[in-house]
């Protein structure tokens, strides 16, 4: 996959991956042997009919290929860019053990981009069924909410999405950076969902402006909770409130949603120092580190308490980050932040770790090596340890059951919660996970809600 050169792309917010040319797409599509077992379909959390869209692409039937994709996946432009295909569809590909799996993700991305650029060549969408007269409230316009809304609208139900922020998309807009997922593409996908008749109400902070019970009392027949996991986790070590120490949520929101990189055209800058330490090893940590580089940091570190093998981030993002010159400090854990006496961070005291026996997550447990403390000189830190659900919904909704992590309890298959007429899916149920698993949850819940509404 052609990419912007590392030294150049580390200074701009343009998309890193440049996409296949038509020749590359045709060549890759013909690698698929259309095997009868089709294990790739099972590997996809939304069960896209992968061999079928690849076949249509190979035969040059672009519009057909797009339709196959869109039948099961309302947001193909997004999945093709952010799915960890290496652990999903491509991991199951029959060709995995031979040369290499078919680059399914890249083909999906190619198709989605083609559709955006060739809208006029697409046949008109299938007409929607007659309105059922049933109303569904979807809380949150992130991947699970957008998917649930699209699926329900396609069945003829009246759907309103309530979004707390001033633009839709959730993590797609505020979390994943421009250079991985251009916001124009996200807006395009949102517009597609709206074209199905879905209403999007912005600035609607459910739990504050209205509660779930008030929404049900207004006459909605069902509610889907897709509010994600937006509460940042901090290290809770001394000095963590000094200036220059950010949660990854704040860092990414200011950068991507609020366009810090376009200051002063936008009034929401970031104070980026010369030496930035990002604490964490997931996709969010990679995103935060690569944003820091593009915002002008001279040196960016990823500080992770386990080793490279345990990094949870998508392989491609780790490779990209390393290529761009980010320094990875493995087996390192911060213990304290130091400041300059005027409230600004100047250093981070760390301790070296070593790996012991596996813990509950199956990964080897990091243990501090006594006496190995050292100080990293930094002037900015971004804490990217993970997020849990914002407690606002659970705190203001009677009868909802939650776990000690703050996640909402819901049936794994249907997304139904213990509260009457309320379903949930995505990060609010699983804790922080992937865009595609949130979409899968949105789909399954929509199917169950549709069944419920039909039987009303």
């Amino acid at each position: 996959m052609p990419r912007q050169e590392a030294a150049i792309r580390a200074k701009n917010f343009k998309e890193v991956a440049l996409g296949y040319t038509p020749d590359m797409a045709a060549e890759e599509a013909s690698r698929c042997i259309q095997c009868p077992k089709r294990p790739c379909v099972e590997g996809c959390p939304v069960n896209i009919d992968i061999p079928e869209f690849i076949k249509a692409l190979r035969e040059g039937k672009m519009a057909d290929a797009v339709n196959v994709l869109k039948k099961t996946n309302a947001l193909p432009g997004i999945c093709g860019r952010v799915c960890p295909q290496e652990s999903q569809c491509e991991a199951k590909c029959t060709l995995l053990k031979q040369k290499a799996p078919v680059a399914i993700g890249r083909l999906e991305r190619y198709l989605a981009d083609w559709e955006r650029e060739n809208k006029s060549s697409m046949p008109p969408a299938a007409p929607l069924p007659p309105p059922t007269g049933k109303k569904v409230a979807v809380i949150g316009s992130g991947p699970s909410g957008l998917t649930a809304a699209a699926e329900l609208a396609k069945k003829g139900h009246a759907v309103t999405i309530f979004e707390a922020l001033h633009v839709g998309g959730g993590v797609l807009m505020y979390g994943i950076p421009e250079f991985r997922l251009p916001k124009e593409i996200v807006q395009n996908e949102i517009n597609f969902v709206k074209s199905l008749g879905v209403e999007l109400e912005l600035d609607a902070v459910i739990g504050k402006c209205d509660t779930i019970d008030e929404i049900l009392a207004e006459g909605y027949d069902a509610v889907f909770l897709g509010t994600g996991a937006g509460l940042p986790m901090f290290l809770n070590i001394p000095g963590e409130n000094a200036n220059g120490i950010y949660s990854a949520n704040e860092w990414l929101t200011r950068t991507n949603l609020m366009k810090a990189y376009l200051f002063p055209d936008y009034d929401t800058p970031l104070k980026v120092g010369k030496k930035v330490a990002v604490i964490g090893g997931g996709n969010v940590a990679m995103d935060a580190a690569r944003c820091a580089l593009r915002l002008g940091a001279e040196q960016v570190y990823i500080v992770y308490r386990r080793s490279e093998a345990e990094l949870p981030a998508r392989k491609e993002e780790v490779e990209n980050a390393m290529e761009e010159g980010i320094i990875f400090k493995f087996l390192t854990n911060p213990t304290k932040f130091l400041d300059d006496g005027k409230g600004w961070v100047t250093g981070m005291e760390c301790i070296q770790m070593e790996l012991g026996e596996p813990d509950a997550s199956g990964r080897r447990r990091p243990i501090a090596r006594q006496g190995s403390e050292f100080v990293m000189n930094i002037d900015t830190a971004v804490v990217a340890l993970g997020t849990t659900p914002n407690p606002l919904i659970a705190a203001t909704t009677l009868g909802l059951k939650t776990t000690s992590h703050g996640t909402v309890v819901a049936d794994e298959t249907t997304g139904k919660t213990v509260k009457d007429k309320v379903w949930a899916g995505g990060d609010i149920v699983t804790g922080a996970a992937t865009v595609i698993s949130a979409m899968g949850a949105g789909k399954r819940a929509a199917a169950d809600i549709d069944k419920f509404l039909t039987n009303l």
């Binding site: 001033h166 912005l202 600035d203 504050k208 409130n241 950010y246 002063p264 009034d267």
Partner: protein
């Protein structure tokens, strides 16, 4: 009363104009009950949030003594509104151009020293004013509520930009506040965090003024 670039931009809007986004109410509401006698202190622009609080306190049966202070006469507003919901109103200006010359903490201290039983003080205004009101009431052991105004991004608890330390614990002013016990607030940390973007704020203002051809 326009200080920064954004309020000046807002000030240029006319009736009928619109802005892109508005949401609320966010945070936790001020706790209103019949405490007995409540002193409401408003520093400058903060007469805006103080007035409805004074009104609610009065409606709940409290005796309300209000103190309204600003740097000079031009910056005093809503004096009549605040007077109409208070049993007594004292107005101060730093430079003496209106009302009593001095800071709001002076009449506040006098009332506390007079022996009158005060059950609660609500003080809202610039951070340094709230800090000094807290210092003034502390020796008298009177419960004091302040409304903290750190820099905020989303206002719903997703980013932690608004973190303040109260009673040694980190809180998010946007969801746990904005009201907090004044005697527990780490005022130095709040002041430091409010200065984070001073340089960029000036840059934004200069940039905007140049583009609009406006110079104050």
């Amino acid at each position: 009363m326009e200080v920064g670039k954004t309020t000046r931009e807002l000030g240029l809007l006319k009736t009928g104009d619109s802005i892109m986004s508005l949401t609320g109410p966010l945070g936790l509401p001020t706790h209103i009950e019949n405490y007995g006698t409540v002193i409401c202190v408003a520093g400058g622009f903060a007469v805006a949030p103080v007035m409805p609080i004074a009104r609610a306190m009065k409606q709940a049966g409290n005796k309300v003594i209000s103190i309204l202070g600003a740097r000079n006469k031009e910056l005093i507003f809503w004096e009549d509104e605040l007077r109409s919901v208070s049993d007594k109103l004292i107005v101060t200006t730093d430079d003496g151009t209106y009302g009593r010359k001095g800071l709001v903490t002076e009449p506040l201290k006098e009332i506390l020293q007079s022996g009158e039983k005060i059950n609660l003080v609500v003080a809202i205004g610039p951070s340094v004013m709230m800090k000094f009101c807290a210092r003034t009431t502390q020796p008298f052991g009177v419960k004091t509520i302040v409304s903290l105004n750190p820099v905020m991004v989303d206002g719903t608890g997703m980013c932690g930009c608004c973190r303040v330390v109260v009673g040694g614990q980190t809180k998010f002013a946007c969801v746990d506040g904005p009201d907090f016990d004044a005697h527990q607030v780490d005022w130095d940390l709040l002041a430091a965090r409010q200065r984070t973007y001073l340089e960029q704020e000036k840059q934004a203002m200069d940039n905007w003024q140049c583009r609009c051809g406006q110079h104050s």
